[in-house]
């Protein structure tokens, strides 16, 4: 089977990708994962190219992951990590886009608290744009790295039962994962308190649970979400201990899943809130592997987008 060519200028979300495109990224990422095994971890693919990391929301780990990915491809990296700063100063996104364009980068990796910002920048910029998380909308590279991690352990996605647990409403990780996993044929369950699961999410083809136990029963993959502690001050949760009591994953509950089930978490973890250390550091946890897969997936994304740029110029 010949692989389809990658023709997109940008990587904005899983929602716009075909199954073939998703598989192309996953396969490419697998070959880049191998680069990490080498003593010299650099390939010259993006030599002379510039990647701008434009983070309007603080996220050290995602930014660092993109930075390492770009460096392993021999690209130059410029970081703009300004939590909301330019927006606060009143600079519009259009102004920001013009400023970036004047630096003539090859890629912009953007993280923003508002949905649709990467797509807006993509419309205004000639360079490739990668969505590194926009509001509660999408976080495509996270879903892709979760998928490569799952494939590494399970050999496939189709037919697996995946349970995602936590704040479903405010999670871009969940939305991208639902789109990706259902598209590749997994059975997806979401579970969380009623205050954090939006009605209507089932139209995306997922089973909705408001109790943890049935969501875990017989699962192949358990994906715990980070509880956004800052939201807790509002009316969604009475307390962290209440949340933990209802939806925290401990070793006992983990026994409800399949014996060979794996546990994922996009990080950073709130140990003792959504997950106990016993599970997070246990034999079924693949949380640290996700970090490594993150670099490979981001290398794959930049590599494929670079191919599009080559073809266009």
């Amino acid at each position: 089977m010949t692989e389809p060519a990658w023709t997109r200028k940008d990587l904005l979300g899983i929602g716009e990708l075909s199954v073939a495109e998703i598989e192309l990224i996953l396969n490419t990422a697998e070959s880049f994962a191998e680069v990490a095994e080498r003593p010299v971890k650099k390939v010259p693919t993006l030599r002379g190219k510039t990647v701008v990391n434009l983070f309007f929301e603080p996220s050290t780990r995602t930014r660092v992951s993109f930075e390492i990915a770009a460096q392993r491809l021999s690209a130059d990296v410029v970081n703009f990590t300004s939590a909301g700063s330019s927006q606060v100063k009143g600079e519009t996104l259009a102004d920001t886009a013009k400023n970036i364009a004047s630096m003539a980068p090859d890629f912009v990796v953007v993280r923003h608290a508002h949905a649709g910002v990467p797509a807006m920048l993509a419309r205004q910029l000639e360079c490739g744009v990668v969505n590194a998380g926009d509001g509660a909308h999408e976080h495509p590279t996270q879903a892709l790295l979760d998928a490569t991690t799952i494939r590494l352990h399970k050999g496939r996605i189709a037919g697996l039962t995946v349970a995602m647990v936590g704040d479903i409403m405010h999670s871009r990780v969940v939305r991208s994962n639902i789109l990706l996993l259902t598209r590749l044929g997994a059975r997806v369950r979401v579970a969380g308190p009623r205050t954090m699961v939006p009605r209507g999410i089932e139209t995306l083809g997922v089973e909705v649970h408001h109790e943890l136990e049935p969501a875990l029963a017989g699962a192949d993959v358990v994906m715990m979400l980070r509880l956004q502690l800052e939201r807790q001050s509002r009316t969604l949760l009475p307390s962290l201990s209440e949340y933990s009591r209802l939806f925290g994953l401990d070793a006992e509950r983990m026994r409800l899943a399949k014996p060979d089930a794996i546990v994922l978490h996009p990080g950073p973890m709130n140990r003792g809130v959504e997950i106990t250390s016993e599970v997070a550091d246990g034999s079924q946890s693949v949380i640290l592997e996700q970090v490594g897969q993150g670099v490979a997936v981001r290398m794959a994304a930049l590599y494929l987008l670079a191919g599009t740029r080559e073809a266009r110029s």
Binding site: T92, L93, A94, A115, P198, R199, G200, T203
Partner: protein, 429 residues
């Protein structure tokens, strides 16, 4: 004064139950004669309305003209020009200007600007509370004496039940309606679009329909207790409309209006547009079943008026990402064509009922002169060509603003002549 004869048109006047071919003579700013055939005299200006529809001047009871204070978005003059181009002979403008219309001085300023523009009639709506702050009642008596026709904190809901109660009671002295932007701010929270399947799937924060419903329910109880006169602005949910329907059946003095966008678009349009801020307004585009209920409300008489909630913003403001952009879209120049094409031509709403919802109905809601072609009524007339095709091109709007979700729509039917006080103030070439 000169005379204007509108000849040969199909006259639809819901106030008289009239739908038939008539000649209409306007003299000294009043309707002088409405008869099967009227001969023109020397010096009469004649408008040939053969093949066209002649209606009482259309009235939009919910617009934001932004003057004073936000003239980059719109002015009274540019808003009035947009109004007459859209077929409206009169508009009621909301009080959320800067400064707020909570005093005689602001009311007089708006009326002065409207007189200078000399286009549509402009009826200011005064504030319910000083500075729209929801605390102290504005001086309704002074505002009405200066020319206000209603009170509203529109743009901001009256969150205090106590303030709403007192407003309903006090407004009775002046026989004016209290117009509510019904939205419980605690429930709407950080929301930017309707809370439903579309918001669940795309992750934008939602505004539940209940935010409107609980406010309307509360206000109807207060209306009943106060014996006041209550009007729901831009009603958008099936349940709020149902509450109004029940309240009317119980004899409460309540009315409501609905906007063209809430009748023609639902929340899926937000995601389909790729989060275009021109699809962001308050209340938000609701769910499919809400839209169906609103349309049913037009047909069964629950809805009293169609109003545009014309809310101009600058290009820069609407160029922001969806979550950061301000709420609101323009509507004066698209309201009539949208309704003619998508409701009347589509066979959903009889033409005479649409005319009622856009002229007689709104006049009744705010107790305005007009909305009728009865002898002696103000000579405000709209001439409509049902066949005239119109492409929505925001760049050609007379409004200063371009923020419409209907860009590129091809519509059939629009106003071709607008007459205010017997003067032809707009003619489509």
């Amino acid at each position: 004064m000169s005379r204007l004869l509108v000849r040969g048109g199909r006259v639809i006047d819901p106030s008289q139950g009239l739908d038939g071919r008539r000649d209409l003579l306007l003299e000294d700013g009043r309707v002088a004669r409405l008869e099967a055939a009227i001969d023109a005299r020397d010096g009469d200006r004649v408008i040939d309305a053969a093949g066209r529809v002649v209606t009482p001047g259309l009235i939009d009871i919910h617009v934001h003209l932004r003057e004073p204070g936000q003239e980059a978005k719109e002015t009274v003059a540019s808003g009035a020009a947009a109004a007459v181009a859209g077929g409206f002979t009169a508009v009621a403008c909301m009080a959320n200007t800067s400064p707020v219309n909570d005093s005689r001085l602001v009311t007089e300023l708006v009326l002065g600007a409207a007189r200078a523009a000399g286009l549509a009639r402009v009826h200011p709506v005064g504030a319910i509370s000083m500075g729209l702050e929801g605390e102290q009642l504005a001086p309704f008596g002074q505002l009405v004496a200066a020319g206000c026709v209603a009170v509203s904190d529109d743009g901001r809901p009256v969150m205090s039940a106590e303030l709403m109660r007192r407003a309903l009671e006090f407004a009775r002295h002046f026989r004016i309606p209290v117009v509510q932007h019904a939205q419980d701010l605690d429930l709407s929270g950080e929301g930017v679009m309707h809370e439903g399947v579309a918001s669940a799937c795309c992750g934008l924060p939602g505004i539940p329909g209940a935010a409107e419903d609980v406010m309307v329910a509360r206000d109807l109880i207060l209306t009943e207790d106060s014996g006041g006169r209550y009007h729901v602005a831009h009603i958008s949910t099936a349940r709020a409309l149902g509450l109004v329907r029940e309240a009317k059946a119980r004899g409460l003095n309540v009315t409501c209006e609905v906007t063209p966008h809430h009748l023609l678009l639902d929340d899926r349009a937000v995601t389909a547009s790729g989060f275009d801020a021109n699809f962001k307004m308050q209340p938000p585009l609701r769910g499919e079943s809400d839209v169906a209920a609103l349309v049913a409300g037009l047909v069964d008489g629950t809805v009293d008026a169609i109003a545009s909630d014309h809310a101009p913003h600058t290009r820069d403001e609407k160029a922001l990402e969806f979550q950061a952009a301000p709420f609101g879209i323009v509507g004066l120049e698209t309201a009539l064509p949208l309704c003619l094409d998508r409701l009347v031509a589509a066979g959903i709403l009889p033409l005479a009922r649409l005319v009622e919802l856009m002229s007689t109905g709104p006049a009744r809601v705010l107790g305005l002169p007009g909305g009728t072609l009865a002898i002696g009524a103000p000579a405000d007339v709209t001439v409509i060509d049902l066949e005239r095709e119109l492409d929505v091109v925001a760049a050609r709007f007379r409004s200063k603003a371009r923020n419409t979700p209907f860009e590129g729509w091809k519509l059939r039917g629009c106003a071709v002549a607008t007459i205010v006080g017997g003067r032809l103030v707009y003619e489509r070439d």
